[in-house]
């Protein structure tokens, strides 16, 4: 598998803190890599360094497995933190400027505007755009010239639910074309929905990395409910594969040992005359994982 980006013990120190600390990761071609962390965890700083706008205090990174050069960035479409455009220029002129820097045919402007639904508004000044439209324009600019890699820092920031869904679909479609995507986000469901790999960071340190399915299905969680909750609790704790239990609103959240399966558990409940009204195998939500892992790091 080709490595698109390799980061090696990257550190960025600001006078008062380490924004990124000994971060290492490697991103394969074609993956959708999520950089997940709460506010201030160093996502933007990391992306800023790999995009050449900030210098690292120590550590290295390399794009496309070779020595870095600024022209590599012409093969990367990026949105970093905020849409950066001239407010007094039309959206079209702004895209023209980006296209010219990247050496892309100006015809591509209409295509990317179509993707983000801004075609009718291209001649309007950037300052007349709404927040969501500005964000879309930034995504359009990142898409110019079909880049090999897309770096998106909180791409759905400021979008309404429909806009969020549209942008996610755009990301998924682009990913199907083999484009590598690096996505920074603090929204867990976003990473869960669109990413294949994830690195969770807090205070600039990597807490865990791996494929989303590995990170997500770390544990065996089952939601179960019945009319007699107390009896259910009692029986459940006696199950051989039982590990932990938590009472949620209308059901019990049962954690099973890795070795035991949900089928065994349901059989066990039936043989113990529990009439189950609700039984759902839940992959561990990133959210729970996230709160757990970032709480005390």
């Amino acid at each position: 598998m080709d490595t698109i980006l390799k980061i090696d013990s990257l550190t960025k120190k600001y006078p008062s803190l380490f924004a990124v600390s000994q971060l290492s990761l490697s991103i394969d071609k074609g993956s959708v890599f999520g950089l997940l962390g709460p506010n201030g965890s160093g996502k933007t700083t990391t992306l800023g360094i790999i995009l050449g706008v900030a210098s690292a205090t120590s550590g290295n990174f390399s794009w496309f497995g070779k020595k870095n050069s600024s022209s590599d960035r012409k093969k990367i479409g990026a949105l970093l933190e905020t849409p950066n455009f001239y407010s007094y220029l039309s959206a079209k002129s702004n895209l023209k400027i980006s296209a010219k820097i990247k050496g892309i045919d100006l015809k591509d402007i209409d295509r990317v505007a179509e993707i983000v639904n801004l075609k009718d508004r291209l001649n309007d000044k950037f300052k007349t755009y709404s927040l969501g439209m500005k964000q879309r324009l930034a995504i359009a600019s990142a898409l110019l010239g079909n880049p090999e890699v897309l770096v998106l820092d909180e791409p759905t920031n400021g979008l309404d639910p429909q806009g969020i869904a549209e942008i996610r679909t755009v990301i998924q479609n682009i990913s199907k074309m083999g484009v590598t995507i690096i996505l920074a986000s603090h929204a867990l469901d976003e990473v869960e929905k669109v990413c294949s790999h994830v690195c969770v960071i807090k205070k600039g340190k990597s807490l865990i990395q791996g494929s989303v399915s590995d990170v997500l299905v770390g544990e065996n969680l089952i939601e179960v409910a019945c009319s007699e909750i107390e009896k259910l609790k009692e029986i459940t704790t006696k199950f051989s594969g039982f590990k932990a239990l938590k009472e949620e609103n209308h059901y019990l959240l049962v954690t099973l040992k890795d070795s035991s399966s949900s089928i065994e558990f349901s059989k066990y409940l039936i043989t113990n005359n529990i009439i189950i009204s609700h039984f759902v195998k839940r992959t561990k939500s990133l959210e729970e994982f996230f709160l757990e892992t970032t709480k005390d790091a």
């Binding site: 800023g48 600024s70 960035r73 012409k74 990367i76 970093l80 039309s90 980006s98 010219k100 820097i101």
Partner: protein
Amino acid sequence: MLDLISIEYIKLKNNSSFWIILVFYMLISFYVVGKADSLPAGSDVFANPLQFPMIWLTSTYCASFLVLFPSILIILNIGNEFKYKTAKQHVIDGLSKTTFILSKFISVCLIATIITIYVILLSLFLGWQSGGEIQDFFGEQFSFVTGFYIQLIGVLSFAFLIAILFKRTGISIVVFVGYYFIEVILYYLVFKDSPIRDYLPLEVFNSLTFSPIKDNLDSFSGLSIPEFKLSLNWFSAAIGAIYIAICLSLSILIFNRRDV
């Protein structure tokens, strides 16, 4: 390269404050140059400062007096790149930091070129109006247009450096104007008896245009007026070019060393 020029052109062309300041500068300099013949100390040797070839001195000298306007243009132009974070975006999009500075320097050259062409046209117009001899059009005095061009690029490069250094438009303008006062203090007080004072940057740039007024001619190099042919001091021009190179190199250095 052509792409970079066209990018700067898009940014300037659509910027209304650029046009307002530029047109304002053009109108004022036209007015000031046109009024030059009514100055009491107008040279009696060269009769009329608006006739060829003296018009080249008059127009460049007057226009260079108003150099604050194009300097503010540059400071606004650079300040925009920081205000809109487009400096950052350009680097993200694939310009190296050095190329970014060079591309911005295109704006300096673009503005200086537009103004110089304007001053040439203005001089031709006024010179022709005051009935000068056609053969004197491009006499040696025309070299002051070159001097003016270097002076413009020089002062604008200095404004450029300040704008890169301070990022914020307001602060940059204050520092830029403040430096004029600093240099006056250096010139008249600190380096009063030292030859260094002739090598202060703004002094060097100022020496590239020259007042056509009689008093000045008398003191110029101690030559007596009748045998003296006024032309640009090419040594000063060379020093000016060095200052421009220093401003540009420092801008590149500063921008490269900093997170955008």
